[in-house]
Symmetry: C2
Subunit: 369 residues, 2 copies
């Protein structure tokens, strides 16, 4: 990143012309021309993302006393972002709105009453619905969380949702000890990849269910390099061969489901008594279905997990502690993220990658290549 | 009941001839001839109850030092009893075995080392699998629990499973307060009838789902006389009319499911956020099915309840406390049980009644009319 200089407590008139146009800004990059416009990926009505999302240029509002002007560095495209654009997600801004819920931005200027964030800091959105697919934004300090700056922006941009979901799934629904086994479907999703790695670090074995795909061998190899104990395709689930395959392992103490349908049923069938099948996604768009006997006689519990809800119910400090745990793992390369960078302008290509059934890499929009 | 006299601590030789044949019996009814045989409803191999269950006469074993000789007064036919006979229940004795898991018996004689049970006491089985469809049994003291004697035997016989299940369902899965609403299907089952009454006593409103039936009007009337707040037939579930009907009520904080299939799905749909759908039966033999969105975004939890498991994990004292709570409610007529008495010999008719889809009354076998 290029070196910048910051000044604090200096009256606006000593700053450059663009700052004079923003009279309440008390701190900004010296000699830097602050932007007056932003490029945004916006939808004016909910609908099919490919159709309703457009690249537009918007004028930035004044930076108020409590506001922060940020320049986004990177922002991923997550499945939930697209559900929000489609209007099928239970939360989110009303259209017209800018898409995207997570990302990392650098601070370009702060208002006179901003206390906890300074120019050149990196920040992420404090809540869902921020609209991160944009080059710049002016937002209240309270809507942003300061993070560290010591990993690549494309990783920093994508830690708060998927790795943190994996972290919670492994911590909130079972007391996992070394040698324990868990089972997950959609195991090659960004959450699934993080689950594999976080579990392996705790010496928890993962049985990973993925869809069959043309590059199956490569995918399995990479998942195993992440620490996957076993990788099995969906069509094997429930077969005698599958049951033989897992018969030497302790029964899984946790099931993770982002698919639904029979995939979830078959996972529930192999779980240890008293354990939980956690649903955090429904990629097949089919309901979760379990025989009553599993609920009654094996005391299998079915629960859901939604990170947005967790964020709502926990303090920013608790959330940052979790993010920092994942962040440090990324920094030390113990948590690898498989990302593919797309310039913001190539949004259509990034979107196309995201909606492909067997994508392996997470599409990350980069605003400052 | 006819008056009897008991003696304790008297040497066997002072007793009648039948007691002399049972030399370790230290206490028995004076001048009463103890039975040497029992009539039992037995199956020699698992299978369709109508085919495999037979009325037989068996010789009773000697009463050992730690044993108790009991004469059964009454025993219900519960659905789980029949599943056990069919061999589709996860616990139970190996065939050949006597059917029936609950019932009440009077004590006719006790062995010399029996401490907590005396002649003329009433007892119930301590664990499932006792085999209660019989006139007499000799069993270890540890396999029996002493109960009170102040309600009718046909009620005493049927408290330990269905009313206790209802009691646990209302206590273990939600913190219900006056004015709260719950919803249940199979609401005219013995458990459902108890749920209605126990809930009404706590001023908890019940939405009760039942199958349509020829005597629907009478059934609804009786359920309302028990305290049912609302009774709706299965076919109305999920319709706009149903949603209008319940729209003025607070959302149910607990769902109780003994049916499965779409009935369970529709109950899950109307539950309050963060609440639990408890499955304790699967009369439709269809799996429980819920959209992933209910699990993720509304945090609906699916759990199972199995009283046998609860009994296994709790002390006899805890269980007796629960039984006594229900017992006292029955005695004071605040918990009514709708039973139909059948002599043990009319087992086939009782069985026929039990397997009818729209039975209202619980079939209770009576051994001592």
């Amino acid at each position: 990143m290029k070196r910048t200089f910051t000044i604090t407590g200096v009256a606006p008139r000593t700053l450059t012309r663009s700052l004079q146009a923003n009279p309440v800004v008390l701190s900004a990059r010296l000699f830097a021309t602050l932007p007056s416009e932003a490029k945004v990926i916006k939808y004016h009505a909910t609908g099919q993302p490919e159709k309703v999302l457009k690249l537009e240029t918007e004028k930035l509002p004044q930076v108020g006393d409590n506001d922060v002007l940020v320049g986004f560095l990177a922002a991923p495209i997550n499945p939930a972002d697209l559900n929000m654009v489609e209007g099928v997600y239970p939360i989110g801004p009303k259209a017209p709105a800018v898409g995207g819920n997570e990302g990392v931005a650098e601070v370009l200027a702060v208002g006179s009453k901003v206390k906890g964030i300074a120019v050149d800091d990196w920040v992420i959105p404090a809540k869902p619905g921020f609209g991160t697919w944009r080059t710049h934004a002016v937002a209240p300090e309270s809507s942003l969380l300061k993070v560290k700056k010591d990993i690549k922006p494309e990783y920093a941009a994508a830690i708060a949702v998927n790795p943190c979901t994996a972290y919670r799934l492994l911590n909130d629904f079972a007391d996992l000890k070394p040698g324990d086994v868990i089972i997950q479907n959609g195991a090659n999703s960004a959450v699934g990849q993080a689950v594999i790695q976080l579990a392996a670090q705790r010496e928890v074995k993962t049985i990973n269910i993925i869809r069959d795909r043309p590059d199956l061998g490569d995918t399995v190899e990479r998942m195993k390099s992440y620490g996957a104990y076993m990788v099995v395709t969906e069509d094997k689930l429930g077969t005698p061969a599958f049951h033989r395959l897992i018969s030497d392992l302790p029964k899984p103490k946790l099931g993770l489901n982002c698919v639904g349908g029979t995939s979830a049923t078959e996972i529930a069938r192999v779980l240890e008594k008293d354990s939980t099948l956690v649903t955090y996604g429904g990629m097949s768009r089919k309901p979760v279905q379990v025989p009553t006997s599993l609920l009654i006689f094996r005391n299998i519990q079915l629960r859901g997990f939604w990170l947005s809800r967790w964020v709502e119910e926990h303090s920013a400090e608790e959330r940052l502690a979790m993010i920092n745990t994942c962040w440090d793992l990324v920094k030390s390369k113990r948590l690898r993220m498989w990302a593919e960078r797309y310039p913001l302008e190539d949004f259509a290509a990034a979107l196309n990658r995201t909606t492909q059934a067997q994508r392996n890499r997470k599409a990350i929009l980069v605003m400052k290549p």
